[in-house]
């Protein structure tokens, strides 16, 4: 892993000087610098490539379908890397593990959930070189990749802090006209299926996942199709952040193939939809009526995701909580 990261970094550095936009760097003739585009340089170390698998129930697994999509190894690199292409069955498996994880995750103390999301921030900070490299390999400039990664880490910290605070803002003690103690508190909904935005691939992913899990929901996320690899690199930070397996499940593949099945799944409580084409959005919202899913749609521009004040508002948590009102008589 470390070796590969260096490679991408070098390639970006050599290409970055002449091509800051992060487009194709170099030509086939510069095979000598990237080491493996053309021919074999005997004597040079052969790097180890990585398989980018789905993140499901805390484990990295290939799609049960055996299918894959390919992404370029990096700007200007001819190498191809394989990313699993999730199937409908993978979607069902993901819902199953998400449902199983929900009771434990929602049952943890809010303080503990906050600590785990903070730990996620720590892991991301430690692995930010990889995240930046992956975003770059996915087509971002070095500067944009850095900016997005830093904003993503900060978002994790912001939502870590929200875990034990939004309750005080959403809850109420209700002054009912009678001898009763009456209060309303937020609770999680269950499994939320998320169609993440294409861009920003990492910040958009964090921006959809964090408000959902901060309140105790678990989720199945269909990652950006524009840069699916970054979602899996990010999953490696989840896997090392004390987050229980199944709380976040990340599927790479085609949204239009998998989402309709999640939309009609009876164990999915809610949908968080981003940037769906109108036809798909309509059919997905229709399918969601099967169990009266809570459907939230938003189409934000890339700049909106970077607007921390707006993107870290508790309103995003509020979209995926239920309000429970409890009555009790006050008497002797």
């Amino acid at each position: 892993m470390a070796k590969k990261k260096d490679e991408v970094g070098q390639a970006a550095e050599s290409g970055g000087a002449s091509n800051p936009a992060g487009g194709p760097a170099g030509s086939p003739e510069n095979g000598a610098t990237n080491g493996h585009s053309n021919g074999v340089n005997v004597g040079e170390r052969v790097p180890v490539r990585k398989a980018y698998k789905l993140y499901l129930g805390g484990a990295f697994v290939r799609s049960e379908s055996g299918r894959y999509t390919q992404v370029a190894e990096g700007p200007g690199l001819s190498g191809k890397e394989n990313v699993s292409r999730a199937s409908r069955k993978d979607g069902r498996d993901a819902v199953k593990v998400a449902q199983a994880a929900w009771e434990g995750w929602s049952g943890r103390s809010a303080f503990n959930r906050g600590q785990i999301l903070y730990r996620l921030g720590e892991m991301m900070e430690a692995r930010k070189v990889e995240l930046i490299a992956s975003l770059e390999a996915g087509g971002q400039s070095r500067a944009d990749a850095e900016r997005e990664t830093h904003a993503s880490i900060d978002r994790a910290i912001a939502y870590a802090g929200w875990c034990d605070k939004y309750q005080s803002l959403f809850a109420s003690l209700n002054p009912v006209a009678g001898p009763h103690f009456n209060f309303t508190t937020p609770e999680s909904m269950g499994v939320v299926a998320i169609a993440a935005p294409a861009r920003p691939a990492l910040l958009g992913l964090l921006g959809t996942i964090l408000p959902v899990i901060a309140s105790g929901n678990t989720c199945v996320v269909l990652a950006s199709e524009a840069d699916p690899r970054t979602a899996i690199v990010f999953a490696e930070t989840l896997a090392t952040s004390d987050l229980p397996g199944g709380v976040v499940n990340i599927l790479t593949g085609q949204v239009k193939e998998v989402l309709p099945h999640l939309a009609k799944h009876m164990e999915v409580a809610a949908l968080d939809l981003h940037e769906l084409p109108p036809d798909l959005r309509k059919s997905v919202e229709e399918a969601a009526t099967i169990n009266v899913k809570r459907v939230r749609s938003r189409d934000l521009g890339v700049a909106d995701w970077f607007d921390a004040a707006a993107a870290e508002s508790p309103r995003w948590i509020e979209r995926f909580v239920e309000m429970k009102t409890i009555w009790h008589p006050a008497g002797q």
């Binding site: 009912v176 309103r315 429970k324 409890i326």
Partner: protein
């Protein structure tokens, strides 16, 4: 009431192993505690105490209230609204079609742009206060008409429906100029035109639940009451007219399902609010899929009412009775699945049967009446068919001796024991005075059974142990949990469901969100 004997066995702790001879114990118990039937003879005969309805003058025909005027429907069609307790026609009301719906939505849009969004918030609030006060002033008339048109006992319409409706307008009126504090820093703003479709079980109260928050937050409304109970909504429209609200701020259109469908499907409606069955709620959600309309749904329920062995049993019995027989069980949050801990099962059943035998069924306008008329022939047929399924699936039915009036739609209070979770009467919303009783041994089992439903509107818990009560309340997947009480409502208290009981809240600060866009 007889003095209650506690079962003469050492009560097993929740979760403890079953007693050694479980098969024989119930038989012994029955012998040890001889059921004492209640027999008051003629002592419990009540003289009729009818509410006089002389001063209530219904019009022969009601038009549509659109743009501040009473307008004939474009179809020229009218339908009858009848009293379910006498089957007599009370009045005829207009049947609004798509053209009328369009006119009403246009009137609401004009009113939104011309008046309602331009008023000072405190003035908007003052109009809503006016409505509240006028309801209080006309409370008697409204209660009588509510009982005539819908069949509910006058003591309920008089003491619950009408005062709670007035309170709801009063509560939300005060929010009109305080929205920026309700959602501090989040720039709350109105949505525009709200299309609101309400049910027949609490006709005036549901109109209040819909109109009050919508108006206070600055929206204008088109309200469609249910076809079997349009009269109090029309009287409310008259009140709104007399309160001099700007024309078109509230429009009331009567009709059946087609009218409602035209309203929720109208392209210029920004917000749809519906209270009714889960079935229709799903159809509405589907109809507006892919649009930008905001939606709140308050749908069906199959609430568990859980009685633990350490509950204050006499209070619990009253809560169970009120929980299921209030408004003939035409209540989405009715406690229709009673879960009783095994240790007190027999005694609870006996007390319930005794209490049921004292319920008085009959004339809704009689102040002594506990159980009024079933709202419609259609609903009566549905109750009968589900009760028949309970009998054919093997549950044991109890219905006390109960004189049924010769005319009208009636169903005597009914209880089923021997109910399994797979029975239709344990799964489907009956929406009638029918209670299904199941048993449990541990709090875990009670929670599992309570949550074993597609619904999640409400639940009840009866126990004297505070920690257990909260433990259970936290695990119930329901939007409203009543602990040691049941069927309590207040404008300041958010109400609404989990799961297939719908989404969004009505009541309280949270209820404002249904009608606002916030950052």
């Amino acid at each position: 009431m007889s003095v209650e004997q506690s079962p003469g066995k050492a009560t097993a702790k929740p979760g403890a192993a079953p007693a050694q001879s479980p098969a024989q114990e119930p038989a012994q118990l029955k012998k040890a505690v001889k059921p004492l039937g209640l027999d008051f003879g003629a002592a419990w005969e009540y003289a009729p105490a009818p509410e006089t309805a002389d001063h209530v003058k219904l019009e022969a025909r009601y038009e549509l209230f659109i743009g501040g005027k009473w307008q004939a429907p474009s179809s020229k069609k009218y339908f009858d609204t009848v009293s379910p307790s006498t089957e007599e026609k009370l009045a005829e009301v207009a049947d609004a079609d798509a053209t009328d719906v369009d006119n009403a939505v246009k009137a609401a849009r004009v009113a939104y742009e011309k008046y309602w969004s331009k008023l000072r918030p405190i003035d908007r609030g003052k109009y809503v206060y006016r409505i509240s006060r006028a309801i209080q002033e006309k409370a008697r008339e409204l209660a009588i008409v509510e009982s005539m048109d819908g069949g509910k006992p006058i003591k309920e319409s008089r003491d619950f429906d009408v005062p709670t409706a007035a309170a709801h307008f009063f509560y939300y009126a005060g929010w009109a100029d305080k929205l920026q504090y309700a959602f501090a820093g989040r720039n709350p703003r109105a949505l525009g035109v709200a299309g609101q479709v309400i049910p027949w079980n609490f006709p005036l109260l549901m109109a209040a639940w819909k109109l009050a928050p919508a108006l206070a937050t600055g929206n204008t409304c088109v309200l469609k009451p249910a076809e079997t109970t349009p009269l109090t909504a029309l009287l409310l429209a008259k009140i709104i007219e007399e309160c001099d609200l700007p024309p078109g701020v509230v429009n009331v259109i009567t009709g059946a399902g087609a009218t409602g469908a035209a309203l929720v499907g109208h392209a210029d409606v920004d917000k749809v609010a519906f209270t009714g069955s889960t079935d229709v709620g799903k159809r509405i959600q589907k109809a507006i899929a892919g649009s930008k309309k905001k939606l709140t749904l308050e749908l069906g329920g199959k609430a568990a009412n859980i009685v633990f062995a350490d509950a204050p049993l006499d209070q619990a019995i009253e809560g169970i009775i009120g929980g299921i027989f209030f408004n003939q069980g035409h209540v989405c949050c009715a406690g229709s699945r009673l879960l009783v801990e095994e240790a007190v099962f027999d005694v609870v059943i006996r007390k319930l049967k005794d209490r049921m035998s004292t319920l008085r069924l009959g004339d809704p306008l009689d102040k002594n009446t506990d159980i009024g008329a079933i709202n419609s022939k259609m609903q009566l047929d549905k109750i009968r068919s589900l009760v028949a399924s309970g009998e054919s699936e093997g549950a044991e039915r109890f219905t006390p001796d109960c004189a049924i009036p010769a005319r009208g739609y009636w169903f005597a209070p009914t209880l089923f024991t021997g109910v399994s979770q797979s029975h239709r009467i344990a799964r489907e919303e009956i929406f009638g005075p029918v209670l299904s009783v199941l048993s449990f041994r541990t709090p875990e089992e009670a929670v599992e059974k309570a949550n074993n439903t597609m619904y999640g509107l409400s639940a009840g818990i009866w126990t004297d142990k505070g920690s257990k009560s909260f433990w259970v309340a936290q695990r119930l997947r329901a939007g409203v949990v009543w602990a040691n009480t049941y069927n309590k409502f207040d404008p300041s208290s958010p109400f609404g469901g989990y799961k297939e009981s719908g989404f969004g809240r009505e009541g309280g600060r949270q209820g404002l969100l249904a009608y606002l866009e916030v950052d």
